[in-house]
């Protein structure tokens, strides 16, 4: 995805330059034209696919080809959303889920950077803790959620911890691996300049790991959302996860499908924000 956006930018730059200098060979303009055509085709195919799917869904449910009670329909989902906007209840649910996801994501980011740093500093601590981290990382984290509820109660804290539990172990391992992949010789440079291990960390290890930290954040934001929704399934009075589980129990399929659509949008938006952070960082570089 990242690569694709990169080539897009460069192609646009070429196009702009081509216009401004007006010195462009026939073959080049042919190439640009075909590139443009290709992109237009991909874009419109995407739109057509989405719109077609929605239309098909709406029409089949309207003419009772599918059971609209079970499958709902786009118009019902939209109406349901609108009514919840009017009574403002939807904002509570979205707000709760967003808040819990963002808090757990921020905590995961900070804690995993700190712990990876400690592991990097002390070879003993990393050697000792490695098997535990590997086991905790491969454990299905949804198994932990009921335990957390008993220990911490059915509170937003539990859900935040549930969100964190999904992402944190993998995040620590990823960051630690990236910290360790810094060339030994580059660290030697710091030592030959009279630096200590903490200088190596601040001047070399952390700066060279920024791309890894950002890509790690991209993974974590999605995982935290998963953890939060699992937590809300089990112990919540608010939030989209709660809405999904509640509506499935009372067969309010409009609510359920609407919640899923909103979760899709939230996932894209959160991922997009980190994409913006990444672009900002690359520009600064």
């Amino acid at each position: 995805m990242h690569e694709a956006s990169k080539t897009q930018i460069s192609a646009e730059q070429i196009a702009v330059e081509g216009v401004s200098t007006k010195q462009i060979s026939a073959r080049q303009s042919q190439f640009l034209k075909e590139l443009k055509k290709h992109r237009l085709f991909v874009q419109s195919a995407r739109v057509i696919l989405l719109v077609g799917f929605l239309l098909l869904w709406e029409v089949t449910s309207y003419f009772d080809i599918i059971d609209s009670f079970i499958f709902s329909s786009p118009s019902k989902v939209a109406l349901c959303f609108w009514s919840m906007v009017l009574d403002k209840s939807i904002f509570t649910h979205i707000g709760t889920t967003l808040y819990e996801t963002i808090v757990s994501f921020l905590l995961v980011t900070v804690i995993s950077i700190l712990l990876a740093t400690i592991l990097w500093f002390s070879k003993k601590s990393s050697e000792i803790s490695e098997p535990f981290l590997v086991v905790l990382n491969s454990l299905p984290k949804s198994a932990l959620a009921p335990l957390l509820i008993v220990w911490l109660g059915a509170t937003p804290t539990t859900i935040i911890v549930a969100g964190m539990s999904v992402a944190i172990f993998g995040s620590i391992l990823n960051l630690y691996t990236s910290f360790m992949s810094v060339e030994e010789e580059t660290l030697k440079l710091i030592y030959t300049l009279g630096g200590k291990r903490r200088h190596a960390l601040i001047k070399v290890v952390i700066p060279s790991s920024v791309p890894a930290i950002i890509s790690n954040m991209k993974v974590n934001i999605g995982l935290c959302l998963v953890g939060v929704v699992i937590g809300e399934f089990l112990a919540a009075r608010n939030g989209l996860g709660y809405l999904i589980i509640y509506s499935s129990q009372v067969f309010k399929m409009d609510w359920l499908l609407m919640s899923i659509v909103i979760l899709c949008i939230i996932a894209i938006a959160l991922y997009g924000i980190i994409g913006i952070v990444e672009k900002w960082y690359l520009k600064r570089l």
């Binding site: 030959t192 300049l193 060279s208 920024v210």
Partner: protein
Amino acid sequence: MEAILEIKNLSHSYHNLEGETLALSDLSFTMQRGEFISIVGPSGCGKSTLLSLISGLMEPEEGTIELHGKRMGYMLQKDHLLEWRTIYKNIVLGLEIQHLLTSETKSKVQEYLEQYGLADFANAKPSELSGGMRQRAALIRTLIMEPDLLLLDEPFSALDYQTRLTVADDIGQIIRKEHRSAILVTHDLSEAISLGDRVIVLSKRPATIKSIVPLTFSLEEDTPLKRRNAPEFKGYFNTVWKELNEDA
């Protein structure tokens, strides 16, 4: 003449599960201030170990290393310029670490940059520079710390041959001009002879000193590149070559 470095009966081994490998065995030599010593030896004979020991990055198992000076500078095989820092920021890295970044040292950095043709690149990224310029920046990063002794660990080996000749010439002249003492470790005999005042030939592992070849050239202008064309060069090359290959 005043000695800057005295090495006596230095021995060092590496330890791992398979056992113990003696890398250096009973090495002794003395180096004068302002001298340029080249050290050559078969690959894997422990040349880099010797430099690491002299620099204090490792503790010797046996023997003593006495340095009559405060600071040491180290140049590694690659320049290791940090890509997220500008050339200027890379050069002041050591000053930054040791909290020596003052207006005085800053103006000295500026001087170096101008003197060695990097002033226009102060704010450039390392990747925008040629291999030779990068190596120069790495040298300034080392020299700015005012080292009493410079340790050069095959600093040209990552460059292509043509660049290598000019950069070695360039850096050799800079070191002479700044009156620094330097130890160059290399496996390139021509490089060793063109840069050094003496060549120390090490034996294969465990390394001992096989012989020390003093170099004198009757050149008006004694630069590394000119030495390669001097009449004495071939003779020295053959001597060092013979010493190196005697037991092979």
